[in-house]
């Protein structure tokens, strides 16, 4: 049984990871910063676990020129589900730490990483849908009828420069994920060494 236990410091880091996940609920996870000659002060769209923030109204006002659908938090089922997902993982990671079992840690980590990938894919899918379903009667016809913001990093979209990057909550989320992956990796390495010694 003893072999299946976590190292105390790895167990502590797992607790920390759970705590970080709780924090994610209170901060914006992602942001898309927009600048244009007319917007020297910049515009920002912030994505929280459960809502949109920043200059949503202004961005919606601008998007009508190219026929992009207006953004409304109600249109996204994700904003209802995401907070529960985060709470679920916070609890799962916490339980993992309590259980003090290696196998549980491996399971949780893999599941969590899978969740991250699905979430990013979902984000990309939304960007694709918004950027490609432009109203053909809009005043401005975007070349190729595609106006998709970048998933990560910088992209010039007509007069707007869009910069997409994690916000505070996102960095905390990444830290939680990195912590978990590290915990799992170290636990595997340590366990292998211990096996050799045996």
């Amino acid at each position: 049984m003893k072999q299946n236990k976590l190292k105390p410091w790895i167990r502590s880091l797992t607790f920390l990871s759970a705590l970080l996940l709780v924090l994610v609920l209170f901060f914006p996870i992602w942001k898309i910063e927009l600048t244009a000659p007319q917007y020297p002060e910049g515009l920002a769209l912030q994505i929280f676990a459960g809502k949109l923030g920043g200059d949503v109204e202004i961005i919606n006002g601008l998007n009508h020129y190219i026929g992009m659908r207006t953004l409304h938090a109600n249109d996204f089922i994700e904003f209802t589900i995401l907070p529960y997902c985060i709470i679920f993982f916070a609890v799962l990671v916490f339980v993992t730490a309590i259980s003090n079992r290696k196998s549980m840690l491996y399971f949780t980590t893999v599941l969590f990483v899978a969740f991250c990938i699905v979430a990013m894919f979902d984000f990309w899918r939304w960007e694709y849908n918004y950027g490609h379903n432009l109203n053909s009667e809009a005043p401005i016809r975007v070349p190729g009828m595609a106006y998709q913001p970048p998933l990560l990093g910088y992209k010039q979209l007509l007069n707007f420069g869009a910069f997409s990057i994690p916000d505070i909550g996102g960095w905390v989320f990444i830290a939680a994920a990195v912590l978990l992956v590290l915990c799992m990796s170290f636990q595997i390495i340590i366990s292998k060494k211990e096996k050799k010694l045996l």
Partner: protein, 666 residues
């Protein structure tokens, strides 16, 4: 003369001529030093250090400049209609220019005073006076809107105004032109001046929180001309000083007849004493009519109320309110130094500057050392109140500002210069020419307890050759001098609107961050606001047609309107739906006899339009708002009176004749 001496004589003559030329005073170009550009250059995109609120004089408006660049930032409509913003034309703003004489679309704005707390500029409001039809305006420094205009009864020529006490307890207004009181029969011979004409001083209280103005009381004074004034501060807080001319009480050819006496007066008013009398009920309630116009930011609408009563205290009958201090030759400026001890009178025709002492004045009053009375008001002796005179400072002293380091700066109209002198020893320290014939001058905070003496600005009356010529009419000229060193240094010329009189320069850091960017449309309580395009509509009430129109980049809703007839009163209530900085929309319609509307984000503005001819009239957005601004337009169809064309309106599919007919009203 030997022939060989001729070249020598010629050379000598040439040398003499050259010498004579070099003796001629240097022209203005020489007066600018090399580092002037560096001191005034504000790079593109950078901010100025000061806001300068400059009176527009006969334009009736107030201009805002940045210093040290001299760039014009904005013109605030105050007493004159402004077709550009629709001020005085829109239904919301018309009441601001109402008076007891009806709608008055113009005035003459001379002086600007900043609100003060503890004798320092607090950056909340600036005040301006209407000289012609006596009024005081308050401008809000977060919206840069004229927030309030108060008319003054029993007054004419509101010149010694709107000066403030050190906590803005009162803004004062004194009459330049004495007239019979409003409740008396004004149909009197003009040459009965001495018998029938009176002056008044209005003490206008300012509410600490809202800024709302109210005439607390008026002082009845002799029929003389009050010119300028300033409040006491520090030890002299509780007193107000007014320069008086025409103590001869002339009513014709004042140029000569009001310049006869060797000395006129500076009138000292003990307003705390007046307050006591007021509390004791010594005031007489007088039935008068005056307009009080207030702009309500919530409803975005001005209302005009005609007030009917004012309380008057007779300064000639109630002892201890007023005292007369002799001052040479028709004093103009009346300025109190930052310590509150020295009162500088500037006799327009005097060749000296008298400096009066507040403590000496109090001594003389306490010891009852009077030299007779003037119209029942005790007159003090010049020697008893005089601290000293600045000898031969220049010609035609007008106004004095202070640097808070013991020095005074006085403007000289006739000799066209600013003279810096020390208050304690009354010695002239420096003089700088102005271009040309300076009137007012101003130092940031220069009439408060805490001047910020980095610059002095000269506001001139004559421009001549300062700029490229523009025909007989020229812009008026201002000059900026660096006074951070011992010597004044001319660093900039800049043209101004109307005619600049007094001005107030305020440190930008004190006010720039509270400048509003737009109005929250959810807080818009205008009766006719359309919040959101679904609320756009047209409603007929008899011959009145109300168009609740929305404006958002880049369309108006409704943009097609039918069923309106010749002679209908059409009210376009346009609400700007934007909630972003610097996206105003304009609204204009063909053949409007008024002006355009300029509507800030979140605001509602109303233009009344009475069509006189059958036809199709386009309307459009006048402020280039977006890439599709040129598309932001619409049509209204005007049918003959009694036409059967039904009222219909809409935009896009909902326009009359469009696919969607749900909005056609019955």
């Amino acid at each position: 003369m030997k022939l060989s001496n001729v070249p020598a004589a010629l050379a000598l003559a040439a040398a003499l001529m050259l010498c004579a030329y070099s003796c001629k005073p240097k022209n203005t170009a020489n007066a600018v030093s090399a580092d002037a550009a560096q001191k005034t250059y504000v790079p593109p995109g950078k901010y100025d250090e000061f806001y300068d609120f400059v009176s527009g004089g006969f334009s009736g408006q107030m201009s805002v400049y940045g210093l040290p660049s001299g760039r014009l930032l904005r013109v605030i409509p105050v007493f004159s209609v402004d077709p550009q913003a629709g001020y005085g034309y829109s239904e919301e703003s018309k009441p601001m220019l109402n008076t007891s004489h009806g709608f008055i679309p113009w005035d003459d704005l001379h002086h600007i005073e900043a609100s003060q707390t503890n004798g320092e500029i607090d950056g909340r409001w600036v005040f301006g006076n209407g000289n012609n039809t006596p009024r005081i305006a308050r401008i809000d420094l977060s919206t840069y809107n004229t927030a309030e205009i108060l008319e003054l009864p029993n007054s004419a020529g509101n010149h010694s105004s709107p000066f403030a006490t050190e906590n803005t307890e009162y803004i004062v207004a004194g009459t330049r032109f004495s007239v019979p009181p409003d409740n008396a029969d004004g149909d009197v011979p003009i040459d009965s001046y001495k018998k029938n004409f009176l002056g008044t001083i209005s003490f206008v209280s300012v509410d600490k929180n809202s800024g709302n103005m109210k005439i607390a009381f008026q002082l009845k004074i002799p029929g003389i001309n009050l010119d300028l004034s300033h409040a006491g501060k520090g030890p002299s807080h509780g007193w107000f000083f007014f320069s008086c001319y025409n103590t001869e009480q002339a009513h014709t050819l004042l140029e000569v007849n009001a310049s006869q006496r060797d000395k006129d007066f500076i009138m000292a008013i003990n307003w705390k004493k007046a307050e006591e009398y007021l509390q004791q009920g010594k005031g007489v309630k007088q039935q008068v009519k005056y307009a009080h116009n207030v702009y309500d930011e919530k409803t975005q609408t001005a209302t005009s109320t005609i007030e009917t009563e004012v309380t008057v205290l007779d300064a000639m009958a109630l002892p201890g309110i007023a005292y007369m201090m002799p001052c040479p030759k028709s004093p103009h400026g009346c300025d109190v130094d930052p310590t509150g001890e020295y009162i500088v009178g500037s006799g327009k025709l005097a060749a000296l500057i008298p400096v009066l002492s507040f403590s000496k004045m109090m001594n003389a009053i306490n010891n009852k050392k009077f030299d007779g009375t003037y119209e029942n008001i005790p007159v003090l002796k010049y020697e008893d109140v005089l601290y000293g005179e600045v000898q031969k400072p220049g010609l035609g002293p007008l106004h004095t500002e202070f640097d808070g380091k013991g020095n005074a700066y006085t403007s000289f109209f006739i000799s066209s210069e600013i003279v810096k002198w020390n208050i304690k020893d009354l010695k002239v320290l420096d003089r700088a020419p102005t271009y040309y014939s300076i009137g007012h001058l101003s130092i940031p905070g220069g009439d408060t307890k805490k001047p910020n003496a980095k610059y002095v600005i000269a506001y001139n009356k004559i421009t001549k050759d300062r700029y490229l010529p523009t025909g007989p009419e020229l812009a008026q000229s201002a000059q900026l001098y660096d006074i951070s060193g011992d010597k004044m240094q001319l660093i900039l010329d800049f043209p101004t609107i109307g005619e600049p009189h007094y001005a107030q320069a305020i440190e930008a850091s004190l006010i720039k961050d509270k400048s509003k960017k737009f109005y929250d449309i959810m807080q818009n309580e205008n009766t006719y606001a359309a919040k959101g395009e679904p609320n756009a509509k047209v409603v007929r009430e008899g011959n009145k047609v109300h168009v609740y129109m929305t404006a958002i980049r880049s369309h108006l809703a409704p943009d097609n309107i039918e069923g309106v007839q010749v002679g209908d009163e059409v009210y376009f209530h346009v609400t700007n739906q934007e909630q972003d900085w610097d996206i105003p929309h304009g609204f204009a319609i063909k053949a409007a006899s008024t002006a355009e509307l300029l509507i800030m984000p979140g605001e509602t503005r109303t233009l009344k339009w009475v069509p006189e001819k059958v036809g199709i009239y386009p309307f459009y957005c006048t402020d280039f708002c977006s890439a599709l601004h040129q598309e932001m337009s619409g049509y209204i169809r005007i049918s003959p009176k009694g036409s059967k064309v039904p009222l219909a309106f809409g935009t896009g599919d909902k326009a009359p004749g469009g696919k969607d007919t749900t909005t056609i009203s019955k």
